[in-house]
């Protein structure tokens, strides 16, 4: 007997449809029994069960009943609303009712698929159907809210996926902000020498795209920049970007390279060089860097550490060095964001028995890429760590860190292919070298990949099917002096095997970026169990995320090769272009609103909203929801102590009725009467 009720048992006519979904539901739940039972609910006007409600004939049932039986509400008991809520809302609308006068009962994913107990499943189905009926009678007609889409887009990450997405959108005539954290775009692809299976020179196919992106009228390249804050929602994001100080005045720099030449400091190139070779304290990552302006590494710069030197400033012909340059904060408004932040190579130091970082002549795959590159620190020669000795034998270890419960359970997709590529390149650079590939399976699924493998088989590489247990310097047998000893299994021979080699290359897998979780939180893109960004649907929406307006492309979504990264970059661009083409997007009308006449001005709700959608009117002393900013979470509705905030489509009355309905078989008669 409460004093305040929104509605008192409205007289609605509900149509109930229990779907068989073939045998997916009907195999476990007695659909006929459920639809027959539903007729006992006083709100129900018609109740049916049917084979496939989502088929056109099923939908027509709904439309027909609305028109012929004067239904005012519709309930479909079938799959998850994430599958077909849209379908049935549209059918409801075609029948002549507002699409929000519809509710679904999920008796498949939450019912028949989740239990073998037929009795319990049918009982649960009744509860869920009853809940939906009791809820739907309190639904109100609602209209979707149009939101304008800002045609500018931000692409975060300037690797091949990001560059592809940016160019596709720019060529379509839309403005793009391409944000890249390093001093140059290019990503990991710029580190690679040759690409499988065609053995194209990576830089040759990448650099033209980099240049195009750097020069395109529609692309604003924000290099050496990072995103710090993202506010807003689809169509209307406000992004804060920190343009870090290069200490180089871009307008004056001619990329002549004199500063780099004159800089006396040499540090190991951990970034582009993957730890092989050196760079200066003021440097461009590689000669074809876009943009060509160098970056000053303050941590290793003599001036910033001791106040001396300043050689670069002295020798710069255009006086473009500015030690006092500060970071700049830019506020950028965009309509959509594409995350193409890439991957990090698995750190083989995590596997101490492989000796990476301890044993000189154990190299990571990216180090080896830099080595065989003609413009790399060894001039393209395959040599040991001493910089001059050519190895006579090279071992290439597949699956380092991948397919391994101790590290990453997943397969990193590209390592078999690049391991084969390395085998080929070693043979090419050192004819007569003994090359050993240690593998578990040979994964060569792409176009031309199997053919590449077959070609390799004829080049004399020794393939050993077996995991490597250790790589060590235990060179105690004669002839092994100074060599690395590989202890492995050979499953095809059924034996353990010991092999001395001069050099080892570890084909490490792809890890998500170390800060993927934080970046994800910044953009409200979740990460899956393996740490890569989660796509909205694994099959049908691989580049969308759960957050409207935020897309993902490339290796940040999961390990993949270059063609797939390019494809995803294009797919994300296409998804964004679709929204820009639409101009406005219709948002779900699930919003909060304050009943201002009753608001006491307590201000509890003011800190509830992460979208700053609640403002306080100082004059009237009431709080108010800005509808355009509200995303419909309902947190403020639950927080309001006087119950004056209404959450459309998730009102207290609706949810409390749903709770009542779901407890049909355990409620007492007294409760049913007074509900």
């Amino acid at each position: 007997m409460s004093e305040h009720k929104e509605h008192n048992h409205p007289q609605e006519k509900v149509g109930v449809y229990v779907c068989h979904c073939g045998s997916n539901i009907a195999g476990t739940i007695n659909c006929g029994e459920v639809s027959e039972w539903a007729k006992d609910n006083p709100h129900v006007e018609v109740s049916r069960d049917y084979e496939f409600m989502c088929a056109s004939t099923g939908q027509e049932l709904i439309e027909k009943d609305i028109q012929e039986k004067g239904l005012t509400r519709v309930v479909v008991a079938s799959c998850s609303p994430h599958m077909h809520e849209k379908t049935f809302r549209e059918a409801t609308e075609r029948g002549g009712l507002n699409p929000f006068l519809f509710e679904m009962a999920n008796i498949r994913e939450h019912g028949s698929w989740a239990t073998n107990d037929k009795k319990a499943a049918t009982q649960k189905a009744k509860a869920l159907v009853n809940a939906a009926i009791d809820r739907v009678v309190h639904h109100q007609p609602l209209e979707k809210i149009p939101v304008e889409i800002n045609p500018s887009t931000m692409v975060v990450g300037g690797g091949i996926a990001g560059i592809t997405a940016a160019l596709d959108l720019a060529d379509a005539g839309h403005h793009v902000y391409l944000v890249e954290r390093e001093g140059t775009i290019g990503g990991h692809m710029a580190q690679i020498d040759k690409t499988f299976p065609t053995l194209d020179c990576s830089a040759c196919i990448l650099t033209p795209k980099m240049v195009e992106a750097g020069q395109h009228d529609n692309i604003t390249l924000l290099s050496y920049s990072e995103v710090e804050q993202v506010d807003g929602y689809i169509g209307n994001f406000q992004v804060k970007v920190r343009k870090k100080a290069r200490c180089v005045v871009e307008e004056d720099c001619t990329s002549c390279g004199i500063c780099e030449e004159k800089c006396p400091v040499q540090v190991i190139d951990e970034g582009y060089g993957a730890g092989l070779g050196h760079r200066k304290a003021i440097y461009r990552a590689f000669p074809q860097a876009v943009p060509g302006y160098p970056v000053l590494d303050k941590e290793n710069c003599i001036y910033f550490q001791t106040g001396k030197c300043r050689a670069c400033e002295k020798f710069c012909p255009t006086h473009a060095i500015d030690f006092d340059q500060e970071d700049e904060i830019l506020n950028v408004d965009v309509g959509n964001i594409i995350l193409a932040t890439g991957y990090e190579l698995f750190d083989a130091r995590k596997i101490p028995q492989y000796g990476y970082g301890r044993l000189e002549n154990v190299f990571s795959s990216l180090e080896f890429e830099r080595m065989i590159n003609a413009s790399g620190p060894t001039g393209g020669h395959v040599v040991l760590r001493d910089g001059k000795t050519e190895p006579e034998s090279v071992a290439i270890i597949h699956c380092v860190g991948s397919r391994d419960k101790n590290y990453n359970e997943y397969c990193s997709k590209v390592c078999c292919m690049y391991s084969l590529k390395f085998a080929h390149l070693v043979h090419e650079h050192i004819p007569g070298a003994e090359v050993y590939n240690y593998y578990i399976d040979m994964r060569t699924p792409g176009k031309g990949y199997e053919e590449f493998y077959n070609r390799l088989l004829k080049e004399g590489t020794h393939f050993v099917r077996g995991k490597v247990a250790s790589i060590s310097e235990a060179d105690y047998l004669p002839g092994e002096e100074g060599k690395l000893i590989i202890q492995s299994e050979n499953t095809l021979l059924g034996k353990q095997q010991r092999k001395p080699v001069d050099m080892v290359i570890l084909s490490a897998g792809m890890d998500p970026q170390p800060d993927a979780e934080e970046i994800g939180q910044l953009f409200k893109a979740g990460c899956g169990n393996d740490g890569f960004f989660s796509e909205r649907h694994p099959k049908l929406a691989p580049v969308a995320t759960m957050t409207d307006g935020i897309f993902i492309a490339g290796a940040c979504q999961g390990p993949k090769d270059i063609p797939e990264s390019v494809a995803q970059g294009g797919a994300a661009a296409s998804a964004v272009a679709k929204l820009i083409g639409q101009g406005t997007v219709m948002m779900e009308p699930i919003r909060a609103s304050v009943r201002e006449e009753e608001c006491s001005g307590c201000r509890i709700c003011n800190t509830m909203c992460p979208y700053n959608a609640i403002e306080f009117d100082e004059e009237k002393e009431v709080s108010r929801v800005i509808t355009a900013l509200c995303q419909g979470c309902g947190t403020c509705v639950a927080a309001c102590p006087s119950g004056v905030i209404d959450g459309a489509h998730f009102t207290n009355t609706q949810v409390l009725s749903e709770i009542n309905g779901i407890l049909w078989d355990v409620q007492t008669e007294h409760e049913k009467a007074t509900a």
Partner: protein, 341 residues
């Protein structure tokens, strides 16, 4: 009984403190107007009436009955039913009959525990034979009866239909006088009455609406017992960590308590849009606890929040101080000693 045609007024006290009767007198000189308009049909507090008087009335003889006090025992219930039968309009007057109020705090314990504490387990008692009150005892002079002591304290509308609710512990004089005028107008001039089931003599917002303290966005680190700190006289009490039920309490009292530095205790019951006053208060208060944020590890987050929540000494006793009977669960399941303070 009078036959002069004046509207008949009754006022009865069930399980109450008597404050509601005094509040009627608190309307000062207006009491004379009340005396002019109404005839008293039953008002045991101030005049000599007997239950048999009421039993003798025809049904609906009494025009307005102001029933205060909660339903603690069978006599309270019997009188509620009797007066309902004999009255046209039944008003749940004051917090006890409206939402349960202080007597309903007994729902934090049990009948057994209460009787034990009062009659058996008490240092100042001398009851060697462990005598407990009985509903019926035969003596040579005849049978003596006592009402049955209920396990659960109820509010008035849980035993009879109620026409209007007049909140407050006690209701405020201006509100009482306003309601009496409306009723008098209806009875003597045929003026319309508010819809049955309405809350009258109160506002349609929460106490914060009437409170002059300055309110900011809320982020509370911890709570204090009222004796622990000296609150700033201008700022919202809740923001300073003093529990104040005002945000989850119906307006109408003029925010008397917060004005003098005492946190509202919630005696006007829940605001119009709320079913369970305690639940809403707990939701609001917890929502603005400043402990933890989404960047923390789960364990750290839980610890910080628990520490802040632990500064609230007695959540049920505080949030449900007045509204136990009106709440969704109404009483505790086990008297586990954690309910009763």
């Amino acid at each position: 009984m009078t036959e002069n045609g004046k509207p008949k007024l009754a006022m009865y006290w069930a399980s109450s403190c008597g404050g509601c009767e005094i509040s009627v007198l608190n309307i000062h000189e207006n009491i004379l107007a009340v005396d002019e308009i109404f005839d008293l049909a039953f008002f045991p507090c101030i005049a000599d009436f007997k239950v048999s008087d009421v039993e003798g009335y025809p049904d609906n003889y009494i025009d307005v009955c102001l029933f205060n006090g909660a339903i603690r025992n069978s006599e309270n219930e019997h009188m509620a039913q009797l007066l309902r039968q004999k009255s046209k309009v039944m008003v749940a007057y004051g917090a006890c009959s409206h939402v349960g109020s202080i007597p309903a705090l007994s729902n934090l314990t049990s009948r057994e525990a209460t009787l034990k504490k009062v009659f058996l387990d008490n240092p100042s008692l001398d009851n060697p034979h462990e005598v407990l009150p009985q509903t019926s005892v035969h003596t040579p002079e005849g049978e003596l009866t006592l009402p049955e002591f209920y396990h659960t304290v109820k509010k008035l509308d849980q035993v009879v239909d109620v026409d209007y609710y007049l909140p407050g512990c006690p209701p405020e004089p201006p509100q009482i006088w306003a309601v009496l005028q409306v009723v008098a107008g209806a009875l003597t001039q045929g003026d319309p009455l508010p819809p049955a089931g309405s809350v009258v003599g109160a506002g349609n917002s929460a106490v914060c609406d009437e409170c002059d303290r300055v309110k900011h966005e809320k982020a509370i680190d911890r709570f204090y017992r009222p004796y622990e700190i000296q609150p700033d006289p201008e700022q919202c009490l809740l923001e300073q960590g003093i529990m104040c039920m005002g945000l989850a309490t119906r307006s109408g009292c003029g925010a008397l308590c917060p004005t003098v530095g005492m946190g509202c205790r919630g005696c006007y019951g829940p605001p119009a849009g709320v079913e369970d006053q305690g639940a809403k208060m707990l939701s609001a208060v917890a929502s603005v606890i400043a402990a933890g944020d989404e960047t923390m590890e789960e364990d750290e987050l839980e610890t910080l929040i628990q520490e802040a929540v632990d500064t609230i000494a007695d959540p049920s006793g505080t949030f449900y101080r007045f509204s136990m009977s009106h709440s969704i669960l109404q009483r505790v399941k086990d008297a586990n000693g954690k309910g009763a303070a």
